[in-house]
Chain length 347, copies 2
């Protein structure tokens, strides 16, 4: 391909920032000053809490540019932070972005990355209000900090669940992990036969779960409509099992989770089988689904049980030591968090 | 030396975070939930603006671990962000920290880095309320986002200066740059004769300016005592000349700066001469001084002129094209921003 390549050095730092941040729209009333000063200036809503979450994404650890398009990467970097704000039952409002770039990256590549960042901002009506663009000795580093808010009464922590509360999850699980398996397989094929075209057709759903996840702002809105404030909530970045154990531990409860209740898409299930993987294990430990996992008192059972967004997958118990997974055939085993990526992205 | 070395893998991500964040004190009433949930929860002060600034620091670009002790690096990473909050005339309240670590770093090394981060937090009564700790393929990456506030009326932008306003700077300039020159010299000596001990004695002042800068929260407090809200303000990270031109451009004014008014320490001046460098150039373009540069109406001349914290170094002018440096011998030349580090840290 005959692509244009402009070296970052030809624009310089200030030129690059000007190029990237031109025509930035803002959507939030609370954004008083965005990019271009020493700090962003925000006007908090009276009586609301401010929520702040940060993530650092490093090339070769959190993403692989051989199969992550830069635009998708920018999108995902923003979304995973918005997801953390959702996990507090909050509404994301602003992001600031730090970018470390080696000289491997051209102005065009950075613009591509930024187009994904901007797309996520526009999709979620979140304002990009600041950042830092700098060179790096090696590869690409992306840091995103998201700022959001929620009224004081509506903020949900991880530690508020009570014994007896129902454990509920949005959406379907395991898809992002299976998407990654498909990408890794095609990368291997390509390594062995560099001319080969990747065979990704039919896998769009799973690839999208991996490459372009969404933050469940719609779930937060739905909870508000239901006038339902969860007793505890977390987003699923490390895997359902791990996040379930976080809620239980921080709420000083035990937990019982039913394998047959864990929501999985048919596509995910079939693909896991094709890869000789246990679908349940993918759903429990895959991670990166960015669904919301929360608890509600049993009195709210009727609001949840037939709701298309939600699945009741278990409940919390009195015994703080209990970590039970009830398998499909009724056996009880220990629910374990099997990280698939040792020291991985968090919070 | 017989130092202990614990691999990060032996603790795991959650273990490492638990280790780093144990016994974290908080100082601010506005910190409602700190480390340990999906996001920090802050309670903004009514009528105040929230200020947010972020920086990304990459090994080999912003710091060189051959002469930056990890503790100093952690301290500086926090301070440079607090300085951005000061530059808005605000008070820093919280920070979140992202850490990317290659397996070169042991648990002990990360704890050393964190001890500097915590020292800065304690020194400035700022709360560490969140973060992300992750592995990196190469070297150390540090991202810091600082959150602060100021009452709505007191927020100072870069673009509010008027023609005739006095240009004022806190402290003395060029020291951080000279500190860096000394460190680079000793690094070269060491490279050529690896047994050689670095000769840093007598240079403590300049080394401290480079390795352990401070944020001028005291200047913000002093301005409040004087009931003086600057018309424009910026902190000096890229150098006096560059920052002066930012204020002028964003305020749509010209500027006249007097070389003989630029505050320099005797030590900096003498060391520059020893290195065959022009002291004024070091002060104008050296950068990383983290002093505050601001403008005030001429009516406030008496408050500033004999104040030990401040130096009046010039004034803004009507002609937007004017960028004048008046030299010691009365000649007028063009004030130019000579970055010493192409694509460097910013905002």
């Amino acid at each position: 391909m005959d692509e244009e390549r402009t070296e970052i050095g030809t624009l310089g730092e200030f030129g690059l920032i000007a190029e990237l941040t031109q025509n930035l729209e803002t959507h939030q009333d609370s954004t008083k000053v965005g990019v271009g000063d020493d700090a962003a200036v925000l006007a908090p809503v009276e009586g609301h809490r401010t929520l702040v979450s940060t993530d650092l994404l490093c090339e070769g650890i959190h993403f692989d540019l051989t199969y992550s398009p830069l635009k998708h990467l920018g999108y995902k970097a923003v979304v995973v932070n918005l997801s953390d704000i959702c996990a507090m039952n909050g509404t994301p409002r602003q992001v600031v972005v730090g970018l470390g770039l080696s000289n491997r990256f051209s102005v065009e590549a950075v613009k591509e990355l930024y187009s994904g960042i901007k797309l996520a901002c526009s999709r979620y009506k979140v304002d990009l209000v600041g950042g830092d663009t700098t060179s790096s000795k090696s590869g690409l580093t992306l840091s995103v900090t998201a700022i959001g808010d929620a009224s004081k009464e509506k903020v949900v922590l991880r530690g508020g669940a009570k014994a007896g509360d129902l454990l509920v999850v949005s959406g379907e699980l395991g898809g992002a992990y299976m998407g990654l398996q498909i990408l890794e397989r095609e990368k291997l094929v390509f390594k062995e036969a560099p001319g080969a075209q990747p065979d990704l057709s039919g896998h769009e759903e799973l690839l999208e779960r991996q490459l372009k996840p969404e933050a469940r702002t719609d779930v937060v809105e739905e909870l508000a409509k239901l006038e339902l404030t969860p007793s505890a909530m977390i987003d699923i970045s490390d895997g359902l099992a791990s996040e379930t154990l976080h809620i239980a531990a921080q709420s000083q409860c035990g937990v019982k989770l039913y394998e047959d209740k864990v929501p999985m898409s048919e596509k995910m299930y079939d693909t896991a089988r094709e890869f000789n993987l246990d679908p349940t294990l993918c759903a429990l430990s895959g991670g990166e689904d960015y669904e919301l996992l929360f608890t509600v008192p049993q009195s709210r059972f009727e609001d949840i049980r037939n709701h298309p967004m939600f699945s009741i997958i278990g409940h919390l118990t009195e015994d703080r030591e209990e970590r039970t997974l009830v398998t499909r055939n009724g056996l009880e085993t220990e629910l374990k968090a099997q990280g698939w990526d040792g020291l991985s992205a968090n919070s």
